[in-house]
Amino acid sequence: MSGSTGQKLGGETAQAVVDTAAPSTEVASKSPMQLAAGRLRKDKLTLVSLVVVLLFVLAAITAPLAVHFGWIDPLKSALNLTDEFGRPKDKWGGMSMDHPLGIEPGTGRDTMARLWSGVAFSLFIALSATMIAMVLGVVLGIVSGAAGGWIDAIIGRVIDLTLAFPLTLMLLALASTGLIMVEKYLHTPKGNPTAAVYVIVVLGLFGWTGIARIVRGQVLSLREREFVHASTMMGASKFRLYFREILPNLWAPILVTFTLMMPAFVSAEAALAYLGVGVNAPTPTLGNILNESISYADVVPTFFFIPGFTIAAIVVSFNLLGDGIRDALDPKGHQ
């Protein structure tokens, strides 16, 4: 600001000062979020990953409709398409006009139908677990930072314990007990619904620590910012302080953590499926499709690559999007 006007109060001169000093009087008002969106728009890689992510989300949303209207049927087997060893009779894993991605060895189920529904189930599981983890993490993080003292100390110890927990091991060891408990207390139907809820709850209960720590740290530093003091000075309530003044400043880490947690849970679901925990066939998830495909890696390589590639695409696109959002929200934080 050059500040070349030694002005006093009042309409006209004030106007003059504003005009010389504001970046531009023409542009419409831009919130920090809008500015971030503007930066995002210039970032090609992030835009591409955004498109890929949106395609996956679209696929997930349309899958139930496609099944409902009978366009795809992920459960229908077609044993006539496989030979006596269960291998697809046709070349390229049974790819044809009817089965663009081939068929599943052994059962002859349509790979595209299974993959499409699998994306939906996997993203649903990941999203549900992410929501649980985010809500838990944000609330506990704010409480921890806001309350301080022994509440903060207890939450801190719980986070340490959770992080020290051998999660996968416990999941395997406790799977049977866990499934029974889910069934008993949440009244889920036996079988796959219970398994899905078990995976969601466990991922959610163990996934909140990272965001809780981030939020707590942010709350502690934001609390010392003068705009929070100003709000106290105005006589604002504690609620207003934490939810109107501080929370809006947490959207950046929340959004970034969200986009990074989704792919982490998609691969977690796959890893658990490989270990035999979670939703089982015939209900398709990316995890159990991949698990199935591994035994055919040498005989039907197309079938092996398709689910693996899909999971990789989801993980990479979500991660790139998360990184891109982080950079757009915090342009000074990277080079």
Binding site: M1, S2, G3, S4, T5, G6, Q7, K8, L9, G10, G11, E12, T13, A14, Q15, A16, V17, V18, A21, A22, P23, S29, K30, S31, P32, L35, A153, R225, E226, F227, H229, A230, S231, T232, M233, M234, G235, A236, R240, E245, P248, N249, W251
Partner: protein, 422 residues
Amino acid sequence: MAEPHESQTEPAADNTVPAGDVAAGPSLEELLKQSNKPAKFDPDAPSILTVDNLEMYFPVRSTGVIRRKIGDVKAVDGISLSIPRGGSVGLVGESGCGKSTAGRAITRLYKPTGGSVKFGDRDLVQLSNRELKPLRRDVQMIFQDPYSSLNPRHSVGAIIGAPLRIHNMVPKNQTLKRVQELLEVVGLNPEHYNRYPNEFSGGQRQRIGIARSLALQPKLIVADEPVSALDVSIQAQVINLLQDLQKEFDIAFLFIAHDLAVVRHFCPQIAVMYLGKIVEIADRETLYSRPNHPYTQALLSAAPDVKQAAIGGRRERIRLTGEVPSPINPPSGCRFRTRCPLAREICAKVEPPLMQIGPHHKVACHFAGELGNQPHDPVTARMLGVDNSGNPDPGATPTQIEDSPEFSDVWFDLKERRTVKP
């Protein structure tokens, strides 16, 4: 202040700052001199806020699980002052001496650990947050950092409107109108209410913060270094704005600053703080022309313009060596002794009391005196009942020295070494 105020528009004085050459431009002193007629000190003005022996200690805790209290940061250690209705008092001191903490304790952002802050007939220190809420309208604060004092996620309208909504100052549908009035009062374009803080310069942001503090029509504003973060040319504009607002709305100010140049044009009465204590307090003319504390003298000699004005530009700058000691473990006796050019034995042993040495002048130093004219033996020894090197003197009878927020009409005359009553 229901109406947007009108003031005569002065022609933009473009010649005051050569464009693009801020560094070599005129100093704050010169800029202010042109536009500013500082108010006179009125010793009889009724007090609006009386701070008595205010203490703000922060506990220092050990690390680890138990976190025992192992000491105190004595950020503010017994300060007393009185702010007259519609007047202004300056509070000056180096970084880290506890100015912000004092301001925040007075406005009850912190709960003071001792002393009282009387506003009207109520002691703010004793009030709970709920009881404080209605009083928040009367006492407001302007913050030091224009970048962190505005929530980056809220529009200017939301920022200035928040106090209006919290206190139901105006009917809901009038909030926007009132926000625009306030923007106009502080010299911003009222149409910019829907912009976000990142679209404004530092000076403009500070104006937004000022508008927010005016929204509740306070009687007292604590301004915590409101211009320290700004360019010199902008500093003058903001100080002028504050001065106009003060006259217009009859607001009292506690104006915190880290150098004596800024408050010179704003405050008829100035207190100098060092490490949590007031070391000298006086009306402006006395403090700038006849400072009696070595610390004030050093501060004055460091402010080039003021030096010129106060002591004719003849004196060399007094360099303060060393750092401000930690308020966790302040030096014994006089807290300034580790950096004081005059320090002697007594200074380490006995703490100098803040004694009144003139009609509107108090100072806390054993060797209080004008620069180059300091006494050879401690002026305080007799009243403290010690000998000249600070050891207790069995023959002497110490006099009770009390530090009240107000000035008394008897004081200790340094030359005659006795209490005088004009």
